[in-house]
């Protein structure tokens, strides 16, 4: 991560690699790459909350779902134009994030986690029950492929890949600017010590809502893309397990870093794809991996590099990205 910032070369090399990937990869691996990029966007969005603002949400799948269902329903019933569907998906998830955020940001720590969970489970129940619109637990299938102005432009896997790649880059670069802007630094401040940031003159509630809405909107975008990618969406994708999975992506990749969640998404997708093909004990293996991560690489995949040269950059705390305390517990009281 630090390398990425200091070293635009690394960034360029990665970019070039991503651009030539579709031409040397089989369709299968390309589809995995697409999935990684989409879930990467999703993990990036959650990380705004978890990693930057310090709000651990276990209900992020709700926004994924709003985006996915909105775009899919519009694509099925009205138009499959990708801009219309995406924008509608994003708008609706922004609205829902505004609403849910309003309530959730009134509570702290573990209560926040559970309240986000509650709202997303209620949304799940809504989708599940509203069968006439959503096909209930059977899932919404037969979602048409997205179209650009000209029909068929996104039909080939390669075109679709580049479409996703461009959106991914926009989100990634956009977030890297926003999160390091003065606004983004307020998020970080709230993560560290909300009361103090308030006393610095910031209305922290507003900023928490901003970050919640931002995260929700991008989460919705990821959902829309995912629905297009698979042509299918089901309540399973809004269930708390999905929220948990994306949270794990963030944790495994590296909380509060930019590239971390993307690496986490890649890691989890690859792990799940391959391990479960070789053994049905994949839960055991995945579980062990989590444990090994916590014990040996607690700061996530991004820190693997720095574990390497930990010796070198001695206690020059680039603190906001390395050391991280996420406020979770409601019972631990700060001293006065």
């Amino acid at each position: 991560m630090a390398g990425l910032k200091k070293n635009p070369v690394v960034f360029l090399v990665l970019l070039v690699a991503l651009c030539i990937a579709p031409f040397i990869m089989s369709n299968y691996f390309l589809s995995i790459l697409v999935e990684i990029l989409i879930l990467g966007i999703f993990a990036l969005s959650l990380n705004i909350l978890v990693g930057y603002t310090g709000l651990v949400s276990l209900g992020h799948a709700a926004f994924f779902g709003v985006g996915a269902y909105t775009s899919s329903l519009i694509a099925i019933h009205y138009t499959s134009n990708v801009f219309v569907t995406l924008i509608a998906g994003i708008l609706l998830s922004l609205m829902m994030a505004g609403m849910i955020g309003f309530f959730c940001n009134r509570v702290n720590g573990f209560y926040f986690l559970m309240l986000t969970l509650a709202f997303s489970q209620m949304f799940y129940a809504l989708v599940y029950r509203w069968g006439s619109l959503t096909q209930g637990d059977n899932g919404l299938s037969g979602i048409p492929k997205p179209t650009l102005w000209v029909n068929g432009l996104l039909d080939s896997p390669i075109a679709f890949y580049f479409f996703i790649l461009i959106i991914f880059l926009i989100v990634f670069i956009g977030l890297s600017v926003i999160l390091h802007s003065p606004l983004g630094q307020i998020f970080v401040g709230i993560r560290e010590n909300e009361t103090r940031v308030r006393v610095m003159g910031y209305n922290t509630t507003i900023y928490k809502n901003i970050s919640f809405i931002l995260a929700g909107g991008i989460g919705g975008l990821a959902g829309s893309l995912y629905a297009f990618f698979n042509g299918f969406i089901s309540p399973k994708d809004i269930y708390w397990t999905m929220s948990g999975e994306v949270l794990i992506m963030v944790l495994v990749g590296g909380v509060g870093t930019l590239i971390g969640p993307v690496l986490g998404a890649a890691f989890i997708v690859i792990l799940e794809t391959f391990v479960s093909s070789y053994t049905d004990m994949w839960m055991l293996i995945v579980g062990m991996t989590f444990i090994l991560f916590v014990i040996f690489i607690p700061k996530g995949i991004v820190s693997i590099g720095s574990l390497w040269n930990e010796r070198k950059n001695v206690n020059q705390g680039k603190g906001n990205e390395k050391e991280l305390k996420v406020r979770m517990s409601g019972v631990i009281q700060d001293e006065k």
Binding site: V314, N315, I332, Q333, D334, E335, K336
Partner: protein
């Protein structure tokens, strides 16, 4: 009683104590002085075992304790008044005191005696530790340390945040404790108070002891006072 012998302590990779040696004789009070960030607290933390030294030895009543976990060190009879108070905010004043209670037969410190010493604490007995005023918290930590009935007391800036009247009170308490035979190592910024009660003085700078002598030695040594303690006269 306590011999700290040439210890080196680190936070991660930063080398904070670079060979510190400090002694406390039985029934006496040694004082550590120095500007902010010089390693006084780290010395205290090294003794109690929070930041164990990587090199050097610490002996307490003949036992080597530099490798022991802090609860063992405390059980051997070392009490601590930490800097920044370390009051348990989610416990009541009474609970703060009682969870520390140990060996009351040894030195006779009980809840009642602490309340006698600091009547203010008795008034606030059922308040949460975190709600106390700064000075009240300071009293609470001193009381809490005494509740463990230690043989050696480590005091890290006990007078911080206390009103002048309370500082005198603490000074009296410290003298009284010395009378009872308690040994103490104290860090202080209130130099005049420290020099009143000290038997021996150490001055630290950048992780090393740069002066050691009796209070009178220090009073006479203008260079040290000026250079390391910022005292004008």
């Amino acid at each position: 009683m306590l011999q700290v012998d040439n210890i080196h302590s680190y936070y991660g990779d930063s080398h904070v104590l670079q060979g510190v040696s400090v002694n406390v004789k039985k029934g006496s009070l040694s004082v550590l002085l120095g500007r902010n960030g010089m390693g006084k607290t780290t010395t205290i933390r090294s003794i109690i075992g929070f930041t164990p030294p990587r090199q050097g030895k610490i002996r307490f009543q003949g036992n080597e304790i530099q490798k022991l976990p802090s609860y063992r060190v405390a059980q051997l009879g070392i009490g601590l008044v930490p800097q920044g108070r370390g009051v348990f905010p989610n416990l009541t004043v009474k609970e703060n005191l009682t969870i520390a209670a140990r060996n009351s037969s040894r030195r006779g410190w009980t809840l009642d005696r602490i309340y006698e010493l600091f009547p203010r604490l008795k008034e606030r007995a059922s308040s949460m530790g975190g709600n106390l005023s700064g000075g009240e918290q300071q009293m609470l930590t001193i009381g809490r340390a005494l509740m463990t009935n230690p043989d050696l007391l480590l005091l890290d800036e006990p007078s911080e945040g206390l009103s002048p009247l309370m500082v005198q009170e603490v000074e009296n308490i410290i003298s009284a404790l010395k009378q009872e035979g308690l040994s103490m190592l104290m860090v202080e910024q209130n130099i005049s108070m420290a020099l009143h009660v000290a038997d021996w003085v150490y001055v630290m700078c950048k992780g090393e002891v740069v002066f050691d002598g009796s209070p009178d030695d220090l009073k006479r040594n203008d260079a040290v006072k000026h250079k390391y303690l910022g005292m004008s006269s």
